[in-house]
Amino acid sequence: MNFDDTPSEAAFRHQVRAWIDANAPVHLAPELRNASFGHSGVESEDPIQASKAWQKRKAGAGYACLQWPKEYGGGGLGPIERVIWIEEEGIYAALTRLYNIGHGMCGPTVMAWGSEENKRRLLPPLAAGETIWCQLFSEPAAGSDLAGLRTRAERASDGSGDWIVNGQKIWTSLAQHADYGLLLARTDPDVVKHKGLTMFFLGMQSAGVEIRPIKQANGQLYFNEVYLTNVRIPDSQRLGAIGQGWEVSLTTLMNERLSIGSGMPTGFPELFAYCLSARIDGRPAIDDRMVRSRLAGFAVRASGLKYTAMRSITALSKGQLPGPENSIGKLVAGTTMQELAMFALDLQGQAGVLTDPGEAAAAGRFQAMLLRSPATRIEGGTDEILRNIIAERVLGLPGEIRVDKNMPFRDIPSRGRAR
């Protein structure tokens, strides 16, 4: 049990640190350091271009997608090297958020299910940040019940073998910037719902793709709706067999849990710093017993997540696969951040309502956390779905009773609020 680098890890860290010192966009450092939750931070230049430039530079030096094989544009290194890289990249990692979905979920899915030709064509530019990917899974009537999705892919009648797609996707992060989308669609409504799905990828500039931003509850525009109207997709852009889409999607979702969960912030360092400087009745807030008790509760959750991630990385480095136990990362981080934000506002008294960064305590970061955190508890699997996964796949408890289990998809009653 140790946190020490082995000699080869230490050499890698040294090499990475030297390269970052020489190559990182230091002119962006002040903005990145002050990035508040939910904002990219970069305002002095186009944040998309800033991200692309940094990713390109990393790729040129072999530091993009460290854990991917070299032939697909990665670094061909292990999970420990990846952790070392993330530690050393520090604030500049914020620039990489643009690629979280592409590198964390879409790429691994293409890697696992794509043809060799597709892998060689798609993965290197994704690793180098030249292309941005999004994930077209959720629908207005298919959220937690993802397998109930209704977007149809049907063979074109012209004998080309192409697929014609019609439907609506929702909660699509980055759709407005994306070059490619990973699409889960229904190809057979006459079989039970999990069996009638097929996975594709498509160019987001394809004819018939329309993107509409969704104004969120916190006022930001981050998620989108994507309308698909007679979008033509060649059969060569299918991933896995026809009807195997659910199995393919599990690759994506497991990687999603791992990539979201391991890097999830809880807001604890910010709250701790705030409690050192804030005052209650003229004394530092941190001297207050109630404050201490709450801080300790948040501290052990943040620490528990950190060391759970390290245990996962240890297991990965010994060749074990990421399992459903990684579901706890987002479950804990989401609830912690929300409770922590409410507590921070409570400490601010009536002034806790203020959001203007110039006016609000801690530049309004806790208010931003408060307004953003409900989404964390929903996106990528709600708290309740994650608890089901832990209960069923980790603890071995029985699955939910599914009344639609043996029903052909077209007979399943459905109701959801479309926008």
């Binding site: 801080l295 300790a296 997540l305 245990r311 240890t314 209960a391 408890l397």
Partner: protein, 381 residues
Amino acid sequence: MNLDFSEDQYLLRNTVRRFLADRCPPAAVRAVLEGVEPFDRGLYKGLAELGVLGAAIPEAYGGMGLGQLELCVLAEELGRSLAPTPVSSSIYLASQFLLAAGSEAQKTRLLPGLARGDLIGTFAFAESAGRTTPASIRVVVNDGHLSGIKIPVPDGDVADFAVVAARDADTSEGVSLVIVELNGPAVTHQVVETIDPTRSQARLIFKDARAERLGAVGGGWRIIEQVLDRAAVLIAFEQVGGADRALEMARDYALDRMAFGRPIGSFQPLKHMMADMYVSATLARSNAYYGAWALSTGNAELPVAAATARVSATQAFQQCAKNNIQVHGGMGFTWEFDCHLYYRRANALGLALGSLSMWEDLLVERLRRQAEELASRAARP
């Protein structure tokens, strides 16, 4: 980087687990709960013969000279099986006090007996309700003799000697540590009733009992803090082991018990309750590993890591033990089912070495110190 136990340590765990499955089934715990024996002497002797009591005691003093990680492995298994033995008092506390502050003569005289299980030691600390602080200690040592009352003293009824925290007539400041033989006429022990009868506790009354100094006059508090931090990591492993077992019991019962024509484990409220138990137990395990790392490497982060491990483990064991009863429904509240044994132990361990609120307070204070040190180091040119 490696945050896991080694293969040898996993082997040791299997050995200890098998041993305890054989020698410490629930019936053995109940024998202590319902009987007159204060602890399971045969089991304790067996642990000594296995060599694990002396795992972290150097070979020169009759131990195995392994490391603290082996003790962590042992502690988790003791917690899982609710072993009714004085290991925590004798090994986590008494032997650690001797190793931290004992003279060569004291170590040579006492450690081999502790490792063999022939001698039992304990630490007499608390005297009254509330947090024990230097100011709250009234027991006094004067010219080599100790007077006053300590309550509750874990294993105080069975221990051969105690390390006692006392005020010192030789100085107005600080706390002194002394070693007192408990079998002489100047010490009275009275067994006290507690929420967990599977681990005995006593009131010790000292009347001019001969007391031998351990460490420097008035220098005891620093040593107490050190040893409590070390013991906190080990107790956290006991709590993690207990939490895991309580969760397993709940899961097994929920799979077996039917209601409304389904296993009760298929109802979402129970599934989610058990998922939350799992989350809490997992966070506690990870924090305990952090503590084990700091303990075994002697890292300067130990005070933070120990408090983190302790707070997290107390939360987890309490949550798992109370919800284990809830999953069992009415049967969980019967004397016959073992749920209450875990509930009792969870709440007793939550108070051992000081309560949750004390450790929360220590954790935040230490995080603050750590932050200030980091800031001052960063400010240095």
